[in-house]
């Protein structure tokens, strides 16, 4: 195969790279010669590796996809290959359309050369004056949480099975923690673990603390070994 001579350009993503290879080698985008394209794509990925560049996972995903496509293309009956190739073609064409639209857009800015002025400073009460049903809050809350859910720590119930297999029930530890803190004085967080005999004991105590924090029964502040815990009686 003819070796690639282009300088290692940076591409927006695998589709950008593929389009580059297609136009550079004057390939027909509607009937991509799969094995040629795959070889060139892999060559580029290898070069990226050689230059120690961080390869975004998307590039590797595409590599896997291309190799699979190349493999099924070698099979005697390759309807699947046709299907996959068509999908890829569609994606490439769609992306190409937006790339061109982006180019047009970039040429049509006013260069961000118009300026506006901030609103006049008029003494007006900005206090919100409309009324809403409180239920609107619940809906909004669920919408908000739905979005970020994957980033939040998993709900405690996820740990249900893990904990059940252990000997120490979390509920017992909740009582234990509350009792230890009942005096209302701030205690070191580690203090709660001093009596722990084994790992499951520690885990259960820790889960109990998490549960209590969630229920607003205790407050933990500070960090590391100096973290402190305190019971919140007024909310209890």
């Amino acid at each position: 195969m003819e070796s690639l001579t282009f300088k290692l350009e940076v591409f927006e993503g695998p589709l950008d790279l593929l389009l580059h290879l297609i136009s550079k080698n004057k390939l027909n985008i509607y009937d991509i010669p799969v094995s040629e394209l795959v070889d060139q794509y892999m060559e580029y990925i290898n070069q990226m590796q050689r230059f120690d560049m961080d390869i975004a996972s998307e590039f590797l995903e595409m590599a896997a996809r291309l190799i699979y496509l190349k493999t099924v293309s070698l099979l005697p009956k390759h309807e699947e290959a046709e299907q996959l190739k068509q999908e890829l073609t569609q994606e490439l064409i769609e992306y190409k359309i937006y790339q061109e639209a982006a180019k047009t857009l970039s040429q049509s800015t006013d260069g961000f050369d118009t300026f506006v002025r901030p609103p006049a400073q008029i003494e007006l009460p900005k206090t919100y004056q409309l009324k809403h049903e409180p239920e609107a809050l619940v809906e909004a809350y669920l919408d908000a949480v739905g979005r970020g859910l994957r980033k939040l720590p998993p709900p405690v119930s996820v740990f249900g099975n893990i904990v059940r297999r252990k000997i120490v029930p979390v509920s017992a530890k909740i009582v234990y923690v509350l009792r230890k803190l009942w005096s209302g004085k701030k205690k070191r967080l580690l203090f709660l673990f001093e009596e722990s005999r084994n790992r499951s004991d520690i885990v259960a105590t820790f889960l109990a603390v998490l549960e209590l924090i969630k229920a607003n029964r205790v407050e933990v502040c500070g960090q590391g070994e100096n973290a402190q815990i305190k019971i919140l009686k007024e909310r209890a």
Partner: protein, 184 residues
């Protein structure tokens, strides 16, 4: 009140508002109908153009805003110490194009078209006020929807989204001599 008497009043309100102000609001404040409001806005716009003002009236959809003429941007940047905005990256223009032509869209849609993660670019565009949240899609996870803003229209010299140049789908130049339209 004679129609011409409204013109300076409109100008004052639009000036004070700073942000784009909707035609309906103007009609409402002055207790006039929309065609009349539009007529007044036209007179105001013409007067600003003809009197050699450094300011012009911008139409953004059905909203109106006063802004400076581009030819004075150098002086304004100089006086206000605004450095020339770094032009948007290619990635940003691509994301902007996908959003502009398909809005409202989710991040997932944009990422599907581009084949790469776009979260960073999207937050930059939100920060630059070129796009904004437009509610959520009623699907599991309720993904956020994004659309372009008035600032987008202003920065690209558009009065409304209808003025976006058509997508280059039936562009004869096509790819490798084939017109794209044939394939769709």
């Amino acid at each position: 009140m004679n129609i011409n008497e409204y013109v300076p009043a409109f100008e004052a309100v639009i000036f004070a508002s700073g942000e784009p102000i909707h035609m309906d609001k103007l009609a409402d404040v002055f207790n006039i109908d929309k065609p009349t409001a539009l007529k007044i806005l036209k007179i105001l716009s013409d007067r600003l153009d003809d009197s050699g003002s450094g300011i012009k009236l911008l139409r953004l959809g059905d909203s109106f805003q006063l802004c400076t003429r581009t030819e004075y941007s150098v002086y304004i940047r100089n006086a206000l110490n605004i450095s020339r905005k770094t032009p948007l990256s290619q990635a940003a223009f691509e994301v902007l194009a996908v959003i502009a032509y398909n809005q409202p869209v989710t991040r997932a849609f944009v990422e599907q078209v581009r084949g790469v993660d776009c979260s960073g670019v999207i937050s930059t565009l939100v920060e630059k006020e070129l796009i904004e949240e437009k509610g959520r899609l009623d699907l599991p996870g309720k993904p956020l929807l994004y659309g372009t803003t008035d600032v987008f229209l202003r920065c690209f010299g558009l009065s409304s989204l209808d003025e976006l140049p058509p997508l280059p789908i039936n562009n004869n130049e096509g790819i490798e001599g084939t017109t794209l339209i044939e394939k769709f």
